[in-house]
Each structure stands twice: as C-alpha cells, then as structure tokens.
C-alpha cells in the first residue's frame, strides 16, 4: 500500500523538506518548521486559486504582448515598429532561419504552450480527469523548466537598445509590448511556482 506523507499523519516542510509528526494540525492554526522557521502546510494554501489568478492575468496580457510592438529598429531614419511575430518573420526573411526558429519557440510557442499546459493541469485537477498522473507530472516539470527561457526576447531588446544608439544612423527604441511581454513571462512563472504538484497525486484511490 502506497502511503503519502499526508496519509501517514505527517507533514513535510516545503522549504527545508524536514519531516515532522503532525500532532495538532488544524487548518487555521499556523505552524512553523522548527528547523527553518517556514510556515508549515500539507498543500500550498489556495494553490489553485492563486494559479488561476496569475494565469488569467497572463492570458489577458498575452494579447498586448503579441500585438503591440516590442521594439523599433531604425536605420537612417527608416524602420517600422516590430511585434514579436514580425521580428521572427524579419529574421527568417534575412536568411537566419535557425535563429528565427529559436526566437519563435522561446517567445511565442513556449508562453502559449505554458498557458495551455497550466490550464490543462488546473482543469484536470478540478474535473478529476483520468489522465496519467506521471505524464501530467512530466508536463508540469517541462513547464517549470522552460519558463525562464521566454525572457530571451526581453534581454535581446535590452542589449540592442543599449548597443544601437547612434542617433540618426541607427537606433533601437523599446515598445510598449515589451512591458506586457515581460509581465506575461513573470506571471506564468509565478503561476507554475504556486501550482502544488502534489495535488496531481491526491485522491489516487478514488
């Protein structure tokens, strides 16, 4: 019989992973870890609500992030504001296919799949869907791992803005989309961070 920490009447510290006996654990009583001082809880409190909140906000911001220009690259006074997608198209047109592909994956595909993946995980827990728990766990790990790489475009803009500053000859100016895009990346990272993966494995005997 597989036993979890919760079923054994124990509690583990989320920060230092110390296992403790649970004597008088009540939902409203705040217990703290004797080793590291962190607040103890069997599952992250309101994990799903927090995750939903971050996720919905990032879905809303996903539109301005992709539709508004993230930067303007002007050479000798000519240059149009570029969105993320038009930046990718530009890279491909200039013959830099692998690079365009990389930016496309990091900036468009990853955030989109992350949002869809987290939605799927949240719904699967709410609806008690009968999907392989191990596969959902792999999905969660991928989401957690790739999140940071979406910040790529923000860093590229930063470097270009600092480097290409030659007035009339060539200049790069950031666009409003950059703020929205950076916020989307931060929010999806927070959503994944708040998601308690142990919820995937709960109610395994149902």
């Amino acid at each position: 019989m597989i036993k979890t920490v919760k079923e054994a009447g124990l509690i583990q510290c989320d920060d230092c992973h110390k296992l403790l006996r649970l004597r008088s654990y009540k939902k409203r009583v705040k217990l703290s870890c004797p080793r590291c001082g962190s607040t103890l809880h069997q599952r992250i409190p309101n994990s799903l609500s927090h995750c939903w909140a971050y996720l919905i906000t990032s879905v809303i911001l996903f539109f301005p992030a992709n539709l508004l220009p993230i930067m303007t690259f002007s050479e000798f006074g000519n240059g149009e504001p570029n969105t993320i997608m038009s930046g990718v198209v530009l890279l491909v047109e200039e013959g830099m296919l692998p690079l365009g592909l990389l930016v496309f994956v990091a900036s468009i595909l990853v955030p989109l799949l992350k949002i869809i993946g987290l939605l799927f995980l949240l719904l699967s827990i709410h609806g008690r869907w009968n999907v392989s728990r191990r596969r959902r766990m792999i999905l969660y790990r991928i989401i957690e791992f790739v999140g940071r790489w979406s910040m790529l475009d923000i860093f590229v803009i930063t470097i270009l803005v600092a480097l290409v500053n030659l007035g009339a000859i060539a200049q790069v100016i950031p666009g409003v989309g950059a703020t929205a895009f950076g916020t989307v990346v931060i929010l999806t990272m927070l959503a994944a961070h708040k998601f308690d993966s142990r919820l995937i494995w709960d109610n395994i005997n149902d």
Binding site: M151, F155, T158, I200
Partner: protein, 207 residues
C-alpha cells in the same frame, strides 16, 4: 510512527510519497519510485566547494556587470554594452518595469545568491550560528529561480547575430567574465547538497 521511524523516511516534495531512505554513495542519487523526482543526491565536500564557487563568482560578477560584453563598431563609432548599461538604457527610455526585470534577473539576483551562499557556507565552516542562518538559506532557495544568466548569454548571441549585417561586433572583456560567472553558478548548483546544508544548520542549533 515514532521519531526514529520518521528519521528513516524521506518525503517526495513533488508528489508527497513517503519513501524509506536508502544509503547512497557519492555520485548516486535516490529518486521517487512514483513520480521520478530526485529525493537525495549526496555531494562530496559540498560546503567547501560551494564556498569556493561563491567566492570566485563574487569576484567575477563585478567585471561581468560593468565591463563591456560586446562592442559595436559602425562608421568609426564604437558603442559598448554592459549588463548595467542595458538596464540604464531601458530606464532612460521610460521602460522602468522592463529595466527592473532585467536588473533583477541579470544582475541583482545572481549577486544576491552568491552573497547569501558565501555567508551561509562561511557560517557552516566556522561553526557560527547566527539566528538568521536558516532564514538566509531559505531565502537563497526562494530567489534561485529568478536569476537568468544562461538566458542572458543566449540573448547576447542573438543580438550579436542580428547586428552582424549592420556593423562589426566584437566580444568585450566583460563577456569572458560573464561566461566565467555563468560557469561558477552552474558548478555551484551542481555541487550544492541542500539536505546536507539543512542537516548542518540543524546540528548547529542543537549542539
């Protein structure tokens, strides 16, 4: 379950499974049989190695932040980019929020991590037991996700390739320091044995 039995168990923090601890040698690791998460992986000389890496990292992080990562030559003019000048350029364009994100992920969090690690390892080495020690190590773990040096390095490459047609792009001294810094932070996280650190912090408290 009594406390002796609890000592023999280890919990998977990703799926909550209770697993019996098994002794493993250096270089081996114990994984959760249910979800595959790494439960423990003892590292040799973890504290000393982490201290060494934190020290070298702190030395490298200063030139990595302030010396030019890349320089661009165009029509006789030279422009330089450093980690900090990128942040300042965004700030001057009134994109303070993006500037803050870049500053946090590229400069401040990596610096904070190294500083915290150096402090914690020195305390452990010298058997000092300040009351803030558990809190500081927890804080290290908390900020860990938000340092993104490796992403920044890829961004430097992409920016350089984008500008190749336009101008001459040369690597700067800062770039070598930056790569060195990245290597030390990777080596640090590879050599970090958190379970051992926590055990030492706990023993400090009792003894």
């Amino acid at each position: 379950m009594n406390s002796m039995q609890i000592e023999e168990m280890v919990a998977c923090h990703e799926c909550d499974l209770l697993v019996k601890k098994r002794p493993v040698a250096y270089g081996e690791k114990g994984c959760c049989p249910r979800c595959g998460n790494k439960l423990y992986e003892p590292k040799k000389d973890s504290v000393s190695r982490c201290m060494a890496m934190a020290m070298s990292g702190l030395i490298l992080i200063i030139p990595a932040n302030f010396l030019p990562l890349v320089t661009m030559e165009l029509l006789g003019r030279t422009e330089e980019d450093t980690l900090i000048s990128g942040v300042l350029a965004l700030y001057r364009e009134d994109y303070w929020f993006v500037a803050l994100i870049v500053f946090m992920a590229g400069s401040f969090v990596p610096f904070l991590k190294l500083l915290l690690m150096l402090f914690v390892t020195i305390c452990l080495k010298m058997n000092l037991r300040p009351r803030s020690l558990p809190w500081l190590f927890r804080f290290y773990h908390e900020v860990d996700t938000w340092g993104m040096l490796e992403v920044y390095l890829l961004a430097i490459l992409i920016a350089a390739v984008k500008l190749l047609d336009l101008a001459e792009i040369l690597p700067g001294v800062g770039l070598y320091c930056f790569v060195g810094l990245l290597l030390t932070t990777i080596l640090l996280s590879v050599n970090l044995d958190e379970a051992q650190f926590w055990k030492m912090i706990e023993d400090d408290k009792n003894g």
